[in-house]
Symmetry: C2
Subunit: 219 residues, 2 copies
């Protein structure tokens, strides 16, 4: 007998993901699953987005981390509702964990729920959580070759945030060709929305906010 445990885990995960997506539909929540390498700036993007959109969209956050609640504390400082999941070593979130976290979020009050996945550009892309879309974040410090080298998540994402563009301003500080990264991402996914931003300075964030507001409206 050959038991393909990997496939079994994925099927069970898809069932939980389906339950979550049904809940989001009932409650009229737009759920976005943010995926990136560690340190690309997901939490900083969320803190700024929550703060600057607070009069337009009520946002809640599910924080996925291997250890610590450092990120949940940063989100909590904005007064947005947040639930921390610690995976204790696992490299991605599972839909069942998200389902548990949703019990502790005021889903009926929220227009938008961000899931900040574990920092990992590879594994989280294979696990549906019930989200309406994935958002991939790439910091310019990571290099413009990442869409070509880690294609799965770029192929599957609704939007791509190219973060830390402030590091490009100091000439020669970071070598990153935005046009190359865009071209490689479009090759994988012709419909992907691409937003170059600096969550630190605020540059480019308005386009991202417009897209979020529009996406919530069109739900």
């Amino acid at each position: 007998m050959k038991v393909n445990i990997g496939k079994k885990i994925l099927i069970a995960n898809e069932e939980w993901a389906f339950k979550n997506s049904r809940l989001f539909a009932e409650q009229k929540n737009l759920c976005l699953n943010m995926i990136s390498s560690p340190g690309s700036g997901k939490t900083t993007i969320l803190v700024r987005t929550i703060t600057e959109l607070k009069d337009k969209i009520k946002i809640g956050v599910i924080e996925g981390d291997i250890q610590t609640n450092i990120d949940a504390e940063k989100i909590g400082a904005t007064e947005a509702p947040v639930v921390q999941i610690n995976t204790n070593g696992a490299c991605h979130l599972l839909a069942a964990q998200v389902n548990g976290a949703l019990e502790n979020l005021p889903v009926g009050d929220l227009g938008l729920i961000f899931i900040e996945n574990v920092g990992n550009l590879v594994c989280p892309s294979a696990f549906q959580l019930g989200e309406a879309g994935k958002i991939v974040v790439l910091s310019v410090a990571e290099g413009d070759d990442k869409p070509a080298k880690y294609p799965a998540i770029f192929a599957k994402s609704k939007a791509m945030l190219i973060n830390k563009t402030d590091l490009l301003d100091a000439v020669g500080q970071v070598d990153f060709n935005i046009e190359r990264a865009k071209a490689d991402a479009y090759k994988l996914n012709k419909d992907i929305k691409i937003f170059p931003i600096s969550a630190k300075t605020g540059e480019g964030m308005a386009n991202w906010y417009d897209w979020l507001v529009e996406s919530v409206k069109n739900l």
Copy 2:
């Protein structure tokens, strides 16, 4: 019947890792397994290290990537022997893949073999490849909270390279407290060697080279 496939995969991997480590012992190769997030600068570190140590140590490289041979081409430009492994989606290298790559490296001529693992701060730390030690690379652009948030690889590494210190020079450009990152790493691993470096400018690289030369000598 409960089949724990995860454990089975690890056991088979450890057998291959043992074969590799025996080969390294016979051939007197120091093998180091480099692990980091995507874009922390592993390839740039290797290119500079190979070039600047070329009169002291003969270095070979095994490149692990999900897709592309971008990194192997950069290493190949130094004229060091290099073998590319594409994992086609998998998030880490396996010892059996390394064993296959070793057949295409002139192991008898090499003092030092670097394995550049797939860019992922989580999964590769769980898979022994037969190496004498792991090297974790953290770029200052990723933030100083990463040892606390991704503890496993910092607990298991012989050395930690804190790369892109040139980004700290432009005041306010990147917020990274080297002392905090060091303290968190030492909490997990009191014996870890820590080298703040810039593979771009060369700052701090001499200490890393001294440690490599000493480690090869003490093999």
